[in-house]
């Protein structure tokens, strides 16, 4: 039995693959949601609740998240929205997760304001779907049914709800839907019975998003995701350096840490809020760049500077050959190795001070 089925990063990436246009019979992950008319709307997008709903919730002393950000939102041409939230296991109505669940039920109950749609358009059909390992799906269904009843009793807008359960079997990975009647008809029919979405050995798909802000992971998955994240940082940096166009020399090549991170995470980086995470990740990228570019075979230290103000590594180039050196160094520099060497000293970095040459 694989352990990553309960990992939220795995689950989000699996959702993305289920929404990808791909040939259903041949694709390594069957794009079940795409096949049934759904496409990706957004990832980690916040859905702010209308103020009147927030006020009503306060009036009734309900704990809710005012602007819940579901992991994935999918939609079809008939304006049905699947609000997908990934979880390792179920939770009870007293848990802090229930605050977010209430927010999601209310947001998906009337998505016009949360999605910024015209007030005059018909209310889109919203359905909140919790994805988790199948053994927790039934308990989860009970919790969301309770939360929904609680909100309905207060005459607040509520949405349809169901769960998608992941189950590893001998012949592959299956997706099971509890409460499929709540889904649009076409998808409900397709998910009436368990659907095999990956044949054979269950394995992780390609991670388009190897990291998500504020998710908790087990050690093994965190290690794997970190490795993938470092690889995406490497590929993004190399891509940016490779595509840089330098017309005349001397020239300056600027590699902005935030730009690298933003590109590597498909724009998710902007929404990272935990300061210690942000600092740690920025430091790792900075360290990687400096160690990759300086030193023997690279450029002299004084030509590769850290600009704290711009949060960027600035490389002073005097010729095309030096640009080639930069590209070659980045091509062969493995971030996992370079960052690991100094991992224990990460938190000692001070961004305001220019770092010395690598030891």
């Amino acid at each position: 039995m694989v352990t990553f089925l309960k990992d939220p990063v795995y689950q989000v990436n699996l959702m993305l693959h289920l929404l990808m246009p791909a040939p259903p019979a041949e694709a390594p992950i069957r794009p079940l949601l795409y096949e049934n008319g759904f496409g990706l709307h957004s990832v980690e997008r916040s859905l702010p609740l209308p103020v009147r709903v927030r006020e009503a919730a306060r009036r009734h002393s309900l704990s809710i998240v005012d602007a819940p950000a579901p992991d994935v939102v999918a939609h079809d041409l008939a304006s049905t929205y699947l609000v997908l939230e990934c979880k390792a296991s179920s939770f009870g109505t007293g848990s802090t997760n229930a605050h977010q669940a209430r927010g999601l039920i209310l947001a998906a109950g009337d998505l016009r304001e949360p999605l910024g749609l015209p007030a005059t358009c018909p209310t889109p059909h919203g359905c909140l779907v919790y994805l988790m390992p199948q053994e927790h799906a039934e308990a989860m269904l009970c919790t969301i049914a309770e939360l929904r009843n609680e909100l309905r009793a207060l005459a607040l807008p509520i949405c349809s709800t169901c769960t998608f359960g992941l189950e590893e079997r001998d012949d592959g990975l299956y997706l099971l839907c509890s409460n499929a009647d709540e889904l649009p008809h076409r998808l409900a029919s397709a998910m009436e019975n368990p659907v095999m979405i990956q044949e054979g050995v269950v394995s992780r798909p390609l991670y388009l998003l190897p990291v998500l802000p504020s998710v908790s992971q087990g050690d093994e998955e965190a290690r794997y995701c970190r490795q993938v994240f470092l690889e995406t940082i490497w590929q993004t940096t190399l891509s940016m350096a490779g595509q840089s166009r330098v017309g005349a020399f001397p020239a300056e090549l600027t590699l902005s840490v935030d730009e690298i991170l933003n590109n590597a995470t498909h724009g998710i980086w902007k929404f990272w809020h935990r300061r210690e995470d942000v600092k740690y990740i920025r430091d790792s990228v900075k360290l990687y760049l400096l160690r990759a570019l300086r030193g023997s075979g690279g450029l002299p230290s004084e030509r590769v500077e850290w600009s704290g103000q711009r949060r960027a590594v600035v490389i002073h180039l005097t010729s095309m050959d030096e640009l080639k050196v930069v590209r070659e160094r980045l091509e062969t520099a493995r971030p996992a190795k370079l960052v690991k060497e100094h991992e224990t000293r990460q938190l000692e970095f001070d961004l305001s001070q220019p770092p010395g040459p690598p030891s």
Partner: protein, 418 residues
């Protein structure tokens, strides 16, 4: 051979320094007569080799051709707005002409001997990330074949070459050779020496026949021998004698006596190629948002899927992955660090060395899945299909999103009129 042609030619190595495009075109027409080969000390008939080269995708801005060629380590000076003389740094003779067809394609014309020309172009492309070959995959050749079949008389001769090189299959293993040698110790010594040969599968076959004959037999041949799916060269007939040999890697050799027709055929193929590449890009870059979303958004695209006809043996699969990522100048032009994502499953978060674009790859014994972030040049799709078909599986099937690749390149009509 005319006196003028002899004066113009000089020798086989370099082209003359002429003033205008018309003069060069006339030169290429005259070149077909005869030229003095200093090595052979005789008159020979060299041919014009054209190389089709892609620069950037439809939404990216390519640098000026002059800048690109300089980055590639050659000197270029203008003949006119879109035609350049190309000389090697430190040399004076013109080794090729470069024509910027549009912002997407360059064509190099050269009279260098084929082997030199290929080597020169390989180093040029390897040096310059802005350049890549035009990759004519088997489905693109099938589309071209349809054109030949429909537009030329059935009695014209064409030439089709099929090739498959099982590059990643093991050579005859040591232990097998050893055991056979032991077992046959008392047999004929000639047999023993044959047993010691290291061999692997490789098929190459050329058909030269009338258009009508080939058309009736091709499907049957493919059923009995899969390498017949892997077309690597097609001769498109010229109006007169001979024709234009299109190769899988974008080389086109003029075997006719008409350079103008040669150039017309190049433009036709580039137009086909452009349309299929742009269609692939439009699928790959499909955005599900009509407007940029204010929230965290994914710049998503559809994946490319290559499904193999037969599952690759474990050793072949491993050798294939190692062959790509163990060598920087690999034929797939991919670079990255393979991560084991499961048994017989490798993920690479890598870069495409053409344009240094990011690319996400999943290698498995039965498929290759590639995800290209927005802005990626669609040429990557053709390169993957062409090289997998040549070196991994001649019967490979490909999809761009959920649309068969054959449909994207126009080799077969779209299902349901899509």
């Amino acid at each position: 051979m005319t006196v003028r042609a002899r004066q113009l030619v000089g020798d086989l190595r370099a082209m003359p320094h002429l003033a205008t495009r018309e003069e060069y075109w006339k030169y290429f027409e005259g070149w077909q007569l005869q030229a003095w080969d200093t090595d052979a000390n005789a008159y020979r008939t060299p041919v014009v080799k054209s190389f089709l080269v892609e620069t950037v995708g439809s939404r990216a801005k390519a640098p000026d051709p002059h800048e690109m060629l300089t980055q590639a380590g050659v000197s270029a000076d203008r003949v006119d707005e879109t035609l350049f003389r190309v000389t090697l740094k430190g040399k004076t003779g013109v080794c090729a002409l470069a024509e910027a067809v549009d912002s997407r394609f360059l064509v190099f014309y050269t009279t260098l001997p084929a082997q030199w020309a290929r080597r020169w172009l390989r180093s040029l492309v390897n040096e310059c990330p802005w350049l890549d070959r035009v990759w004519l995959s088997a489905p693109v050749f099938n589309r071209l074949w349809r054109y030949v079949h429909e537009c030329y008389p059935k009695y014209r001769y064409v030439r089709l070459t099929f090739a498959y090189d099982a590059r990643y299959e093991a050579e005859t293993p040591d232990e097998l050779i050893h055991s056979r040698v032991q077992a046959d110790a008392n047999d004929d010594p000639l047999d023993q020496s044959l047993e010691m040969l290291r061999e692997r599968r490789s098929s190459k076959c050329t058909l030269i026949d009338r258009v009508g004959e080939i058309e009736t037999r091709l499907d049957g041949l493919r059923k009995v021998h899969r390498p017949f799916c892997s077309i690597v060269q097609l001769r498109v007939p010229a109006p007169g004698r001979g024709g234009h040999d299109f190769y899988f890697d974008g080389q086109v050799t003029n075997r006719s006596d008409n350079f103008t027709d040669h150039r017309t055929q190049l433009m036709f193929v580039l137009d086909l190629y452009r349309r299929s590449t742009e269609q692939a890009e439009s699928i790959l870059w499909t955005r599900l948002h009509s407007e940029p979303e204010p929230g965290g958004r994914l710049a998503e695209g559809a994946p490319i899927l290559l499904k193999f006809e037969k599952r690759l043996p474990a050793d072949v699969f491993r050798r294939w992955v190692d062959g790509i990522f163990g060598r920087r100048n690999n034929v797939f032009r991919l670079w990255g660090h393979p991560l084991n994502a499961g048994p017989d499953l490798v993920h690479v978060y890598g870069v495409d060395r053409h344009l240094w674009q990011r690319i996400y790859l999943e290698f498995a014994p039965d498929h290759l899945l590639a995800f290209l972030p927005e802005g990626t040049c669609g040429n990557t799709v053709h390169r993957l299909v062409t090289n997998v078909q040549r070196f991994v599986d001649p019967g490979v099937k490909a999809w761009v999103g959920d649309l068969p690749y054959d449909v994207v390149v126009g080799a077969t009509p779209a299902p349901g009129g899509r």
